[in-house]
Symmetry: C2
């Protein structure tokens, strides 16, 4: 057996442990009764330790050296490079720091769940200071090992290759036109009459509708399923993708759009190349590319008037409301594209969403680089909310800087993925339009050419190309925020 | 850390891996879409390898030696002894034999699924010969290591401490009265008019009824759940017990009695002592004791006329059949205690069931000891079926010696557990009757004293006592087949 083959075998072994963790994690969120939690958490922690031991085994350095000297095909060389990248990422941090971070993160997150409810910034900020301090240590170690800046070194975990320089430039572009665009959309929408669909929408009916829409979107039920959890997610493994939703009897669109979003994530996973299964090179490229697929499904595709015209009849049938004026094609199209600045990121529409992300990015970047401190966050949050969305969060931590879970456990560098995803999705759609008439295809209920394009340009590429190369190969250029702007203007101002 | 503590930590680590395997195994049977099977099987196999590596780690011999020299409490001494027993069991077989058996078993079982359908004994017997040959090798190695006879060494895997000598004596007792008892019951029942409940019984209604009955039987839904699978089982972990059933719209009693049976297994698991969780000494004692709990729930308790009088009103309500004559208390009591010799073990009633088990025991004992060969099985099967149940299986392999999965993968020594369980259950019930009036308690819907007795005498004992000691402590004597006989006479001939 060559060293390359040994590394392949080793990667697949680690991947099989991830498989067990993914299924048990899904179970924990979607199936497990409350009383099973302690033993499950212990079992999952044990798995994480074993997986970490395998990922950082001391003989791997030698194996990589030996494999690099072997005669490999072009594909094997790329695969080896990606294995090495993942291995290096696993080996950068000392085990004690990882453990310290895990404890501080758990403590901060656990306390946050009550502190957020009582608007208790004072106590929360103490815990957050520890988390930030450890994240700065992590960033310094990663920066040292990679030659990147501190924040870039964290960004690299979620979006390999992305830099502060590029984000600053992309987001400066967005900031130059977004506030006035929001204003224009608001003025236009103020003249529109929209009916809010009135519940109850029975959960069994919502579930049937969800399954029907997933089928329309090509979800492979032989390799996945839909269930319920408090926080919707896409989990499982490529051969068995588990997506979840939560149903609200007063509002069916929230679960439905959520299911469509997760179906985008799911099709990416289901579409990954089988011959690279279990290898780093066969995994999804990045968080941003993953989000581009869910946002392509949810925003680019499903909130278009043409797609709503497919969805609405199914909804009227599922809920037996043939004559409900709130469920006409036209009203549902308007209802699903309403724009309104609000405090909460996860409730935001696609127009105001980037403002939430840019605000967080700017704060976490400066926090990690040491230019600001935790104590500065509320003031900056309020200032930027005013600037980008015209809202004040002064004294309101609950709906301000304490609303998200990300910082509580130290996931700095993650937020940009959301808006990168939206921009990638718009750029993919723009490129796709040069090859086909999207609206006609939707009207003809022929979505296959659309999915085939994504499969060819994104899903089957997995991690064989860098994010930049995926964009260039698929769209002819690097990421460019103008496609996202054009999409918003076309949808909301024409 | 003492060596005893090191061993405790190591045992818990192995147990946490079992936890992941148990949940992923349950998922595979109850949740997983078909297309997820290949990757899942690989992940489960990887887990089995890692678990085996941990169980057989070379430093453990030294740890056990060191721990045995340490000053331990009485409880710790018992725990250490059980850890050592499990460790020795894991270390007896050479890895190559285990792998050979796994391959031969998979091959034989896989082919059996079609061969059984086509009554193809000829081809099946070739595969079975290999399986038997390897099982004989295993038995010889285990006999050598334990000083037991070959078959006893296999029996010891499932029912530690049980021997051929004792089984021969117990089963000789049963055989001396069972055939004539079956005859008498048949004659008595021929005079009874029984109505067969007619479907459809909707699955949602059956599910509600199952959940209601599980609640009545004290199943803890904070530490477990009920789902559906092709082959019903009790899985998961003590803190989160997963039981499954399958519903038949034509017959609600089959799923209902199945759920009650699995609830018995589940309560044993849920009742195991929490302070011993994750240690061998905290596990269920044996397959026979496990079966005694499921059969106590299903046979001793739930098929009694008093319990049926609790079940029947719930059934009539669940199916909205207040006036269905087949669902009266009296008819359901008769219907659930019908006795009829048949070919198929899994469909057998509690009176004829032991005949199926004794037949298999006698054949597998002689097969492993080398007194007969695979080629002799059909003739012996037919002879014994005639002798014990008055039925011939000549030429009918499908419903004869090819009906069970057990031998296909080499699980010789397992069958006796079923009838040992039935006999343990009857003996437990007899002892319980000296302390309380079971029928009155059921009529008063006060089952707690019954469950408390089982909890005290069986569940909380886990593996801190030998099976013999559990019996003696709980009932005053070792296993005695007469209690089972008395139970059958009381229920079926009075």
């Amino acid at each position: 057996m060559t060293y390359y083959e040994k590394l392949v075998k080793h990667s697949k072994k680690i991947n099989r442990l991830s498989h067990l963790g993914a299924i048990c994690g899904w179970d924990q969120a979607a199936m497990m009764p409350e009383g099973g939690n302690d033993a499950r958490s212990e079992a999952m922690a044990e798995l994480a330790v074993m997986s970490h031991e395998l990922s950082t085994a001391s003989h791997l350095a030698d194996w990589f050296n030996q494999a690099e000297a072997e005669s490999l095909t072009a594909e094997e060389t790329i695969s080896l490079k990606e294995m090495k990248r993942v291995w290096q990422m696993s080996n950068i941090l000392p085990a004690e720091l990882v453990e310290e971070q895990s404890l501080a993160g758990s403590k901060c997150e656990h306390a946050w769940r009550t502190q957020r409810q009582t608007n208790n910034w004072h106590d929360f900020s103490k815990n957050l200071e520890t988390v930030v301090e450890l994240a700065r240590k992590e960033a310094a170690i990663r920066a040292e090992a990679t030659g990147l800046s501190r924040y870039d070194a964290l960004l690299d975990i979620y979006e390999p290759g992305m830099t502060t320089a590029e984000l600053d430039s992309l987001f400066a572009d967005v900031k130059s036109w977004l506030p006035s665009l929001i204003q224009q959309v608001r003025e236009k929408q103020n003249t529109e009459a929209v009916l809010t669909p009135k519940g109850p929408f029975f959960i069994d009916d919502q579930k049937s509708l969800s399954l029907e829409v997933m089928s329309k979107l090509g979800f492979d039920f032989d390799h996945g399923r839909l269930d319920v959890s408090t926080h919707p997610f896409c989990g499982g493994v490529p051969s068995d993708v588990r997506i979840t939703t939560r149903y609200d009897e007063d509002d069916f669109t929230s679960a439905l759009m959520g299911v469509i979003h997760e179906t985008g994530h799911a099709r990416y996973e289901q579409g990954l190349p089988q011959q690279l299964a279990g290898l780093p090179v066969g995994q999804a490229r990045s968080m941003g590319i993953h989000e581009s697929q869910s946002l392509f499904f949810e925003m680019q595709l499903s909130r278009s008037p043409e797609f709503i015209a497919l969805l609405a009849p199914s909804a009227r049938e599922a809920f037996e409301r043939e004559n409900d004026k709130a469920l006409t094609n036209e009203n549902l199209a308007l209802f699903n594209t309403r724009v309104k600045p609000g405090y909460i990121r996860v409730d935001a529409d696609e127009v105001t969403y980037p403002a939430h992300v840019i605000l967080r990015y700017e704060i976490e970047r400066d926090l990690i680089e040491g230019n600001i401190e935790v104590v500065d966050i509320p003031r900056l949050w309020d200032k930027k909310m005013n600037e980008y969305l015209g809202l004040s969060t002064k004294g309101n931590y609950t709906d301000g800087c304490m609303q998200d879970i990300h910082w509580t456990d130290g996931s700095f560098g993650y937020f940009p993925s959301y808006t990168l995803g939206a921009m990638y999705a718009a750029q993919f759609m723009s490129a796709m339009r040069t090859e086909m008439n999207i609206e006609n295809l939707i009207r003809e209920r022929n979505l296959t050419p659309i999915f085939n394009w994504l499969d060819r340009h994104v899903w089957k590429k997995a991690s064989t190309l860098s994010t930049d190369q995926i964009l260039i190969n698929a769209t002819g250029e690097r990421l460019n925020a103008q496609y996202f702007r054009t999409h918003l203007i076309d949808r909301y101002l024409k």
